[in-house]
Amino acid sequence: MDKWIKFLEINASRIFDLTIEHAILVGAAILVALLIGVPLGIYLTTNDYLAETVLQIASVMLTIPSIALFGVMIPVFSIVNLGIGFVPAFVALVLYAQLPIIRNTYTAIRNVDPEMRDAAIGLGMKPIQRLFRVEIPNAFPVIMAGIRTAVVINIGIGVIAAYIGAGGLGVLITQGITRGDNYLIITGSVAVAILAMIADGFLIWIQKRYTPKSIAN
Amino acid sequence: MITFDQTTKTYEGGVTAVKGVDFTVEKGEIVVLLGPSGCGKTTLLRMVNRLETISDGKIMIDGEDSMSLDSIELRRKIGYVIQSNGLFPNMTIEENVMIVPDLLGWSKKKKKERFKKLMDMISMSSDEFGKRYPHELSGGQQQRIGVIRALAADPPVMLMDEPFGALDPIIREKIQDEFLQIQKEVNKTILFVSHDIDEAIRMADKIVLLRDGELMQYDTPSEMLVRPKSEFVREFFGKDRAIKSLSLHTIRELQDIIGLAEFDEGIEDTITINVNHDLRNTLSMLLNQEADQVIVIDDDGNKLGAITIDIVQKYLHFEIKAKPTLVQKG
């Protein structure tokens, strides 16, 4: 136990920095994934052919093993001299986050009660007003569930990013492996788990806070 | 025959859902359990096939204490139909209907024949529907399949918990008729839960009216309508529900359909009533004068016969069974 405390004392600031780095990597990827995925998911509800195509592509993307995708990013991004580090990891995480976000947005908007939509049309709302005042608020909890899935997946996969020099908590684990240091491995894992729980808790809070009272059950 | 002997059910939480209920369902009878929501109808029903344990008292089936029988054996001899039809989505219609025969190890050929016979009963084509899955049928069709599934192994007893409750009124009435028709053929002993008074009157040979787990009255529908034993029973069926309906009919209609009684020449001082009088007045006359019979006369004063409370009741029973909607809600 003493050893533990000593270890944590020495490494506290480094653990903290790596956690922040991890959070920024995942956070930035999720943000961009949202900017792509939510509008795309909404657009897909107006085009069934495209919906099928896009969801198929996204689901194949999610089956690609993470280390393989990270690995392939290296030579691909080397073409533009960004082979290692933040950018390839970031792009890979954006890709992984697409499926849950697009799929949940698409199904949620599509499942908005048609009567409610009719009522909105009856009230003379324009399509944009309808989207922002009726459809998105009602689809919100399901969209948030998709975002939560994406975040949890990405925090886990982000660990592997350490192998392509993107930093983050994976660094503790990879170093622990090369040095045979279980303290490092366990600390890294626990930090990842805690980060995942905090992020999920935060998203649940947002979901509760902004879900219209009438549809929260 | 099913006999309830001081049957009682107390749930773990302490709710006593059924309190010392006594009555007997004779072989070949339909007995409807009726009462407000939460009065213990479902609980009482589920104690018969031991889906609920019996806390106190007994249930005897054909004279045998149900607790002395093996619960699996017992259930295979009792058909069970529930409101949400309970059809298994992973099985075709044929597999669904034939599940109990299958459990009992019937031969393929026997099952096939039985399935066709059952489907004929509900006028559905066994070829067309046999290979379909439940979700490919309408609600009414699903419910009828639920009924014949319970009949599949020809159990002597049937338990039915609001079997037609989820259907819309028009289809419900059709299926009720169809079921009564089937019952004529199969002659099962049936316990039937309902919270619909019209349905109860239509289906029942006898009604058990429950309130808070207690049996309020056990009688034929017409007895209950004409002679409610308590204010609760009267209220439940709607005040004057039956009496009002009687005012729509005359003695002549009764005479045409079931005929009058022979009058007893020996009795002197009898009261007479015109054949064009409505039955409501007739009944109140019979009840108020406490006369056993009233002589019916035509406009010329000829004695046509006698009328008694029993005859009015018989007629009422006949009428409401044939056209339950004539009995207006109170």
């Binding site: 085009n47 069934d48 052919y49 495209l50 099928e52 195509t53 969801l55 198929q56 592509i57 689901s59 194949v60 089956t63 690609i64 093993p65 280390i67 393989a68 995708l69 690995g71 392939v72 290296i74 030579p75 886990g156 660990v159 592997i160 192998y163 990879t174 622990g176 492996i177 279980n182 491995i185 366990i186 890294g188 894992s189 990842v192 788990a193 995942a196 729980m197 | 096939n49 619960s71 699996i72 054996e73 017992l74 259930r75 295979r76 009792i78 069970y80 529930i82 949400s84 309970g86 059809l87 298994f88 989505p89 992973n90 099985m91 599940i99 109990v100 459990l103 899955y133 979700h135 338990l159």
Partner: protein, 245 residues
């Protein structure tokens, strides 16, 4: 042809185009060369990879599905909360860490990797088994009991067939995930195609990298496809969800 269909086709063929472009680029740089020049090593790595996945998945299947069935029995309901939360918590631990921690317990090698992969495959299988059984309408079980089916008959004739869709989806998820995680087995000396991927990363050798990464990816996509076909065969027609993509 309408406009929506055209957009969809354009997107589909652009993606095909990108994939083709990638392969063209990789082939013209001879990045797949090692598959042919070191074909015996390649085949060995593929074999190791499949062994890792098969053994660990089979073990997980044997533990997770009976486990899921067990905790959904009436008498074990109380245990469900504890088991489910333990398994859920386990899943937040990164796969890499599960592998790494096994080193200190089991040393380095094939068994360590198998054991870690096994642990990691439990959750999706277990969770979907429980969810599948839990989602069955209470009334169905009631009807089944009412007609005199024994608990074993209810399990095999009603519960498992109706939960099959969910259970098999869990198995597929677990196995596909497992193929990817098995690529990390390299770090515990478990072999598999990860060996080339990591070699490639460490030596900046795109040939090794691509010769390892692309076969793993194709394996995952292919197995996913196969298992979807299998699902379609096994799951009873009546208990499939109304729409599937």
């Amino acid at each position: 042809m309408n406009k929506k269909k055209v957009i969809s086709l354009i997107v589909r063929y652009s993606v095909y185009g990108l994939v083709a472009l990638f392969f063209f680029w990789a082939i013209s740089n001879n990045y797949f060369g090692y598959i042919f020049s070191e074909s015996s090593t390649f085949l060995l790595l593929v074999k190791q990879h499949m062994q890792l996945v098969l053994v660990s998945s089979a073990l997980a299947l044997l533990v997770a599905i009976p486990g899921g069935i067990l905790v959904t029995r009436k008498s074990f309901r109380r245990a469900e909360w504890v088991v489910s939360n333990t398994v859920n918590l386990g899943q937040t631990i990164p796969s890499l860490a599960v592998l790494a921690l096994m080193i200190s317990i089991l040393g380095i090698g094939f068994q360590t990797a198998v054991f870690a992969l096994f642990i990691y495959s439990l959750l999706p299988m277990y969770r979907n088994t429980v969810a599948g059984i839990d989602s069955i309408d209470e009334n169905l079980i009631d009807a089944a009991r009412g007609m005199g089916m024994k608990p074993v008959q209810i399990l095999f004739r009603i519960e498992l067939p109706n939960a099959a869709y969910s259970i098999l989806a869990g198995v597929r998820t677990a196995i596909v995930l497992n193929i990817g995680t098995a690529a990390l087995a390299y770090v515990v000396g478990g072999g598999g195609l990860g060996v080339w991927i990591f070699t490639g990363i460490q030596l900046f050798d795109n040939g090794y990298l691509i010769s390892g990464a692309i076969p793993v990816t194709l394996l995952a996509i292919f197995v996913d496809y196969l298992l979807r076909l299998l699902e379609r065969r096994i799951v009873p027609e009546g208990s499939r969800p109304p729409q599937e993509l």
